[in-house]
Subunit: 359 residues, 2 copies
């Protein structure tokens, strides 16, 4: 039986990417080595490194005002690097809380410098994204948002509406899933393991005026140092960037970010429709106006059936549906690489399960 | 023509490891996915994660007093994490300078806290390891050494002779190459990309009394946080750790670290002998008593022949010999995965080249 996966990340990569990587496994461009066995200072890897950056630029239409970096450490390291580099004397970092990840980002910022939560969606148990009515102040170091909230299954619907001179977004779980205007943002970061590749690399898009040296920031944690060294200050995660480059190529050949959005909407619709037509047999966790195209979260009206739902889904070859422990229920993560057919199979299973138990 | 490589890292992995990884590429244990597509919270990856730790423990005979961590960011991130976590009020970090990497480690420590270089080999242009006569002081935060110096080709010959209550070693380029007593060390760190696997993961061995919470250290940079979370505080570099685990298995099946030392001595001997019998046609950069078993550095008596040496070596299928720009000449990096035959082919080529040009 074919298995299909809806994992929250790390998760499935596009089939074509995995095939190409397998083909190049023992002999990258006639060298007799895998690309991961090549020096990061050699021409073979450097070409990939530059190509990955160019593809990021092309796909997201990144203006010349911004630099692209590939770092290690995931979003969690960015939670520290951002305040370390960007909270200067007399300024306060402002955070918008929309779920566990923005809470974590805020918590880390507080360890490092003056930081304040200015908007929160906690009252709604993070089911609804709050009204974004924050008015920028001269004393703001920056304003930090999380574009998609994997655990609660909410997502800011339009990334172009926020206005802050130093807007920062954690886009780990929805970068490359839909077009938006990069120029609205001072800094964007994304751990690769949802939409960009395997774990082990983080993509950063940073406005060049933020690339400033700081005497007390360790070199390895300085955006300026990494930018100056074109993300080769230290040995990069060669293989993760190689795969990220192949994923970007796949997005490009598939029709780019606009096409990803078309596909993602169609995929999400299939599952949300199964929830909505169930008359309360399934309940969406996120309120409809805040629903994510990346993570569909839902519970069962009769929670006694939860174990049975997981059991039977796995019997049908469907894996990775268990929701995060803080929300319970189920979560179908449908990042770019998840095909339409997988979503249809899930919706079909949901209908059958309801027919069977929904008396 | 078969190509052989002597790269300084990232570099070749054991052939058997690459074969196994290829075999498991599209279907890890019947799941229909590559291991990198699995959740880091799932059983499949967790087994690998724990196995890799156990194998580290077994191969290096790590006592229960020490923990094993797998982090991202390479040795360069350790240059920052060590002083951030371990220089406390009133203490001074002490550094032994034996080359570029220890200089970098020291430079980063100075940004963070009170730090002092107490021994240096710079007078010898880092050709010779200095006399290790430092007497520990109560005000030492720690004493930091670099066990092998890739650029200069020097290596501390016996890792068991140093005595300091808080001894820290960067073993990035020779961990797993010979046995030593872990209990002499408070902290050992090693970027994987020489002897342990591909780039993207760093192994840390840390004495448990150093695992202390620090209010001002960001969570992602705290050893205590990573230890508490068994190196799963954030998404680990899944595929790098999977390959590291296979490399450790390969070391084990090959006869362990003691056998690695036997092989490495034999390999290095072949090339050092070619240098020594050349009567000055080749000159070793490191003085004989400080020679590294991992990086053999040498120059040509007649430096006009350098370009020709590289050209003809590549015509003979030998790659990666160019020395670091700060030393010039040549460097043959012969980490664990480089086979004896490669070293013999290089020595043979060196002899032929001398016959041809050494009039």
């Amino acid at each position: 039986m074919k298995r299909i996966y809806f994992q929250a990340g790390p998760t499935t990569l596009p089939k074509e990417v995995m095939e190409q990587a397998k083909e190049e496994w023992d002999d990258f461009q006639g060298t007799g080595l895998n690309i991961m066995e090549h020096s990061h200072r050699g021409k073979h890897y450097e070409d990939i490194h530059e190509q990955a950056k160019s593809r990021m630029r092309l796909l997201l239409d990144i203006p010349d005002t911004h630099d692209v970096l590939f770092l290690q450490g995931g979003a969690s390291l960015q939670f520290a690097m951002i305040p370390m580099n960007l909270i200067s004397q007399g300024k306060t970092a402002k955070y918008v809380l929309t779920g566990s990840w923005s809470e974590k980002a805020f918590k880390e910022a507080k360890r490092i410098g003056s930081s304040e939560a200015v908007i929160t969606g906690k009252d709604s148990e993070y089911r609804t994204l709050p009204k974004m009515d924050y008015v920028p102040s001269d004393s703001d170091a920056y304003l930090h948002i999380t574009s998609n909230n994997t655990i609660y299954g909410t997502q800011w619907q339009d990334l172009n509406t926020f206005t802050h001179p130093t807007l920062i977004a954690d886009m780990s779980s929805d970068i490359m899933s839909k077009p938006f205007s990069v120029s609205n943002y001072a800094l964007i970061y994304a751990g690769a393991q949802k939409n960009l590749g395997p774990s082990g690399v983080t993509a950063i898009i940073i406005r060049k005026d933020l690339l400033q040296d700081h005497e007390n920031v360790p070199s390895i944690l300085s955006y300026a140092v990494h930018a100056k060294n074109k993300s080769l200050y230290n040995t990069p995660p060669v293989y993760s960037i190689y795969l990220l480059n192949l994923v970007l190529d796949w997005v490009d050949r598939s029709g780019g970010v606009a096409e990803m959005e078309v596909r993602n909407k169609k995929k999400a619709d299939v599952i949300y429709n199964a929830i909505d037509r169930s008359n309360g047999f399934y309940n969406g966790y996120a309120t409809p106006e805040s629903r994510s195209l990346m993570n569909v979260t839902f519970t069962l009206g009769n929670s006694d059936l939860e174990k049975q739902f997981i059991k039977e889904s796995e019997e049908n070859g469907i894996y990775g549906l268990k929701g995060h422990r803080s929300v319970g229920g189920f979560r179908a993560s449908i990042y770019n690489a998840v095909p339409q057919e997988s979503c249809e199979s899930l919706a079909e299973f949901m209908d059958h399960f309801q027919e069977k138990y929904g008396k």
